[in-house]
Symmetry: C2
Subunit: 109 residues, 2 copies
């Protein structure tokens, strides 16, 4: 773990941490809104159990998805970009495109 | 099952069915309101998972509770009365106090 972490420069780690938190906050915020909207349409017991099933699936998905582990982090970012929670450009920081380039090189392989 | 059902007169069965449905509708309606109210206070992921835990517990409780089986129905009613979803007087129908009396005799034992 120490070795893998050392392959990421301090700048890359800072960009990665910020991007990870941004994506997490966006997804949580969208999920909270989605559950609030669903709750307005609740009428019957079936609606409650549908909401329960929806939350079960989301809990499983989110618990597995937000794994801040440097050995898998580029793949975590790939999924977050695919799902629209992160933009590729957010793996840059100012003039520093290092993490974006690492990401593109890794995901091309 | 046929034997047990035959111990309930048609009048008792009709009163029981009506009382059961009343309690069920009241509890579902209160639960829907409770979930709607909880959803207004949702802010963070932890709140969503608390709601998920709450729905898991309620689903387990309600699935086990509303068992329309004549062999256990008086005990189902006892629980519904204890929890406030049914009033003892709702086991009467007009001048007919038969089911209320059966219930009181059984639960006294």
């Amino acid at each position: 773990m120490q070795d893998i972490e050392n392959k990421w420069t301090e700048v890359e780690q800072a960009i990665a941490q910020e991007a990870f938190e941004k994506a997490y906050k966006r997804e949580v915020s969208a999920l909270v809104e989605q559950v609030r909207a669903k709750s307005h349409g609740l009428l019957a017991l079936e609606d409650l159990w549908n909401l329960h099933d929806f939350l079960s699936a989301k809990r499983h998905e989110i618990d597995g998805k937000y794994d801040y582990d440097y050995s898998v982090l580029l793949f975590v970012f790939a999924n977050l970009i695919k799902d629209g929670w992160l933009h590729l450009d957010e793996l840059n920081s100012g003039q520093n495109a290092c993490l974006r380039e690492s990401f593109l090189n890794t995901t091309k392989k």
